[in-house]
């Protein structure tokens, strides 16, 4: 069943060039019989493409939302820009510069008062995940990672130009510089760990658990040592819709509520090695 559904998703994705480009209100979405949902690319375990197949927790969440609303799913998967403000502009309220395409709903949007206040053309709500920063560590090299001080002598990986990279580069006034290894993508960062070039990788907790699960030949654990100076140690993840599509946001919120209380989101997460933590709602 899942396999068939995924095939359907890819077929619909191919037809995307002809669909409407602006984020739409609830009635328009239902009338048209399809919904466009944005997810990040190269963002395992939430959303990524592998051998032409789009997979991940957020991909399955998007599929559930479409099923719940009884419409077809157009999945809009593309990369992250410089920051969340750019992502909201490109994917929700304005569209991209070349094709002017936006989605009806964006998944994986941090819920943060300051972000919300700055971006009044998008509405952010419906928390469905609790996320936090963490480190996945090889137990045989560092049995107990109490502080980041271990990385003055052991190598640590991070995805290039991400929060983990910024944190490690700044830590102890640059003391860790010689031991940081950066992967240009998340996939290549996993490979740094799989090929034992690093003793640990800093990433979100879900990503850390995913790495621990996937790189099965290493005996790994996930830990959250003190992170002096980190901006947010944990936060909630929700969705965004365009400011004049609030009714669509509420309908998607109902779908997410069903996904959470039925326990489905926990079992989807488990498939990817991720422990589901329900956010405060």
């Amino acid at each position: 069943m899942m396999h068939l559904l995924r095939q359907a998703v890819s077929v619909v994705a191919l037809l995307l060039f002809s669909v409407s480009v602006h984020a739409r209100a609830y009635d328009d979405v239902i009338d048209s019989g399809n919904i466009t949902i944005f997810v990040y690319s190269d963002y395992a375990p939430y959303s990524w493409e592998e051998d032409g197949e789009q997979k991940g927790i957020d991909v399955e969440v998007a599929q559930f939302i479409a099923e719940y609303l009884e419409v077809d799913l157009n999945l809009l998967m593309r990369g992250a820009d410089e920051n969340i403000d750019d992502d909201l502009r490109i994917n929700i309220w304005k569209g991209d510069l070349i094709h002017r395409r936006a989605a009806d709903v964006m998944l994986h949007v941090p819920i943060d008062k300051e972000v919300d206040a700055r971006n009044d053309l998008a509405v952010i709500n419906s928390p469905y995940f609790h996320e936090e920063m963490a480190v996945v560590v090889d137990r045989n090299i560092i049995p107990n990672l109490e502080t980041f001080g271990y990385f003055t002598s052991e190598k640590v990986g991070a995805e290039l130009d991400t929060v983990s990279d910024f944190f490690l580069s700044n830590a102890f006034r640059g003391l860790l510089h010689p031991n940081i290894r950066r992967g240009p993508t998340f996939e290549s960062t996993i490979n740094l760990y799989a090929e034992e070039e690093v003793a640990a990788v800093m990433a979100s907790r879900a990503q850390s658990e995913y790495i621990a699960n996937r790189v099965s030949h290493r005996d790994s654990y996930v830990v959250q040592p003190p992170m002096p100076g980190i901006v947010r140690r944990d936060w909630r993840v929700g969705i965004a819709v365009k400011h004049d599509s609030r009714d669509l946001g509420y309908a998607v919120g109902d779908a997410l509520n069903e996904l959470i209380v039925s326990g489905k989101l926990a079992s989807i997460s488990e498939k990817y090695g991720v422990t589901y933590i329900e956010p405060e709602r």
Binding site: G79, L160, F166
Partner: protein, 591 residues
């Protein structure tokens, strides 16, 4: 200077006896090298490989410029407008011009009729950082070449516009893009080569200069701009750029920036390529101790091998986003009775540099904008004298994520001069620099998120220095470092400059005017309202005994994308997309 005139005269003779009389002739590499002297065509970006943007034509002069009138205007059409930064090429009665969204047209100059249009089909998922511009094409043999926003180089049949070959020069999915005009230069070992830089997003891209075979598009050599990376020659590794980790910590050199997105110039005299390199990555300089070579630099390359002949860093350890991509223009400088093989460049950082182009030795560095605050000046070794308190702080050190202390840096990150090319007159020996007088407030930004996780960035606002103008066209004497005259414009200048043997300096304004100035005094002699902002570079040529001038129009580029105080002076400007062609009607030419 004598040498230079002799060379021009020689080239002029060639042009008269050769290509000038031929019809439908294929363009040769010699034609490209002689482009500055051959006034009946414009075959290169910059009116010659040195890109001096000087035409010896003097039919049009200070007296008859008042009679310059439009001949035709050609609309790029479609729904796609935005910034038009392109410089047209002219060959054999045909104009080849590129436009926004990676489009190109061939136009019959006699009638203004379209001959063909090429429209690159751009894939999903390109996120160009700045605007969807293109700066121009190159021509050789029976082909025209240009780069597209999805980082492909395309060779088209000049007669039909059909694709001859199309090669990937970078992966757009990794953030690579292409907007510059390609450069074609001669080599002994490989024949003519097409030389390109690269461009893309802020972090993760390593700058490089690449040479390709114009017939096949195959790579001949490549030269990364960042220390520690290996170059290639004929499909094999050649040499490393610099020494690994000499001016970079840890593995940061692997993703160091230094993109060469504005392309380069070539001097047939010393047989060297000159490329400018972009700012280092990441933006926060506190994350990458060291000089970070060769970012924010000029580098000279041997076209035979791609080896670095010399490098000169204008902003070591850049912390202000002072991209060092600006053009380096070769010229011969008379100073103290000697002729110096010099080159000059006007940097984002506000200083105008004169270097010895044979070895990169520093000769002088003088401010060309006012109130520069990041450095007190340039010392005798060519290194900036930094003002430490005007380096943007480390966002990570504002622990609570509140707006930290603000600094005011001049120039702004859009630069004392941005991409728009200056011109050098062999008549007046002056450089004409399109510059802007603005600074930026930088502070530690409130919280933001990247790919789902929270961090502190930097916030900035660009502010004009003066109430009544931002744009400033300056005549700079490279010998003294003094500004001889200045024209002030309310909106920021974003277009290139052209100067002529007739004593004229042309440039366009965002307000929509193409203007002509007296090259000695800066007096405004002529202007024409084109109906939309100008952010491109004018050209001039001679056809059937008449002197033509052309400019691409269409407001856009980086300025409208960045808000701040500057937005107020440009917010009313309308977009567009067309070419305007002018000449003096024959019956008025002698008046």
């Amino acid at each position: 200077m004598k040498q230079n005139f002799a060379w021009l005269a020689f080239a002029g003779t060639l042009a008269l006896s050769g290509a000038g009389t031929a019809t439908a002739a294929d363009v040769t590499i010699d034609d490209l090298m002689n482009d500055q002297a051959s006034t009946e065509n414009v075959l290169t970006y910059g009116l010659g490989p040195r890109a001096q943007r000087f035409s010896p034509l003097d039919t049009l002069n200070k007296d008859n410029i008042k009679n310059l009138f439009p001949v035709w205007s050609f609309s790029f059409g479609g729904e796609k407008q935005r910034g038009q930064e392109s410089q047209p090429l002219i060959h054999d009665g045909v104009m080849y011009v590129t436009g926004s969204y990676s489009r190109m047209w061939a136009i019959d100059i006699a009638t203004g009729d379209e001959l063909w249009q090429y429209d690159a089909r751009l894939p999903e998922g390109i996120l160009p950082c700045c605007d969807v511009v293109n700066r121009g094409a190159a021509i050789l043999g029976d082909k025209v070449f240009f780069g597209t926003l999805d980082a492909k180089m395309v060779a088209l049949d000049a007669k039909t516009g059909k694709v001859v070959w199309r090669k990937t020069i970078g992966d757009y999915k990794a953030g690579y893009s292409y907007t510059a005009a390609p450069l074609i230069v001669p080599t002994e070992a490989h024949g003519p080569i097409v030389v390109t830089g690269n461009s893309g997003g802020e972090f993760g891209i390593v700058g490089a200069v690449e040479a390709r075979n114009p017939d096949t598009g195959d790579l001949v050599w490549s030269r990364p701009t960042i220390e520690g990376h290996m170059g290639t020659l004929n499909g094999e590794e050649s040499t490393m750029t610099g020494t690994k980790n000499e001016t970079w910590a840890g593995d940061l050199w692997q993703n160091g920036g230094g993109a060469t997105w504005l392309g380069g110039t070539y001097d047939p005299d010393v047989k060297m390529l000159f490329f400018g390199t972009g700012n280092p990555a990441p933006w926060n300089s506190h994350l990458r101790p060291g000089d970070n070579k060769w970012t924010s630099s000029r580098i000279a390359l041997d076209p035979e091998t791609g080896e670095v002949a010399w490098g000169y860093q204008t902003t070591p350890h850049d912390g202000w986003d002072y991209d060092g991509v600006n053009e380096f223009i070769a010229f011969d400088m008379e100073k103290d009775g000697e002729t110096i093989k010099a080159g000059a460049t006007a940097d984002r950082n506000g200083f105008f540099y004169v270097l010895d182009r044979t070895n990169g030795d520093f000769i002088s560095g003088a401010p060309f904008v006012q109130d520069i605050s990041w450095a007190e000046g340039i010392d005798e070794n060519g290194r900036p004298i930094f003002v430490p308190e005007n380096r943007p702080g480390n966002p990570a050190e504002s622990a609570d994520g509140k707006k930290g202390e603000s600094i005011f840096a001049v120039p702004s990150f859009l630069g004392g001069k941005n991409w728009m090319p200056m011109a050098y007159s062999t008549k007046t020996d002056l450089f004409y620099i399109p510059s802007n007088e603005w600074g930026m407030d930088i502070w530690n930004e409130p919280i933001t998120y990247k790919k789902g996780a929270a961090y502190l960035g930097a916030g900035f606002t660009i502010r004009p220095l003066f109430d009544d103008y931002i744009g400033s066209l300056k005549a700079m004497d490279p010998v003294t470092g003094k500004v001889k005259w200045e024209y002030r414009n309310q909106a920021p200048l974003w277009g290139g400059v052209l100067t002529t043997g007739g004593g004229l300096v042309f440039t366009g304004t965002p307000e929509g005017y193409l203007k002509a100035f007296d090259d000695e005094t800066g007096e405004e002699l002529w202007k024409f309202q084109t109906g939309t902002g100008i952010v491109s570079s004018p050209i001039t040529w001679e056809q059937d005994g008449e002197q033509y001038v052309a400019i691409v129009t269409g407001w856009g580029g980086a300025v409208p994308l960045w808000g701040g105080e500057v937005a107020k002076v440009v917010s009313y400007l309308n977009q567009g997309g067309s070419v305007w062609v002018f000449k003096v009607p024959e019956q008025l030419a002698s008046r």
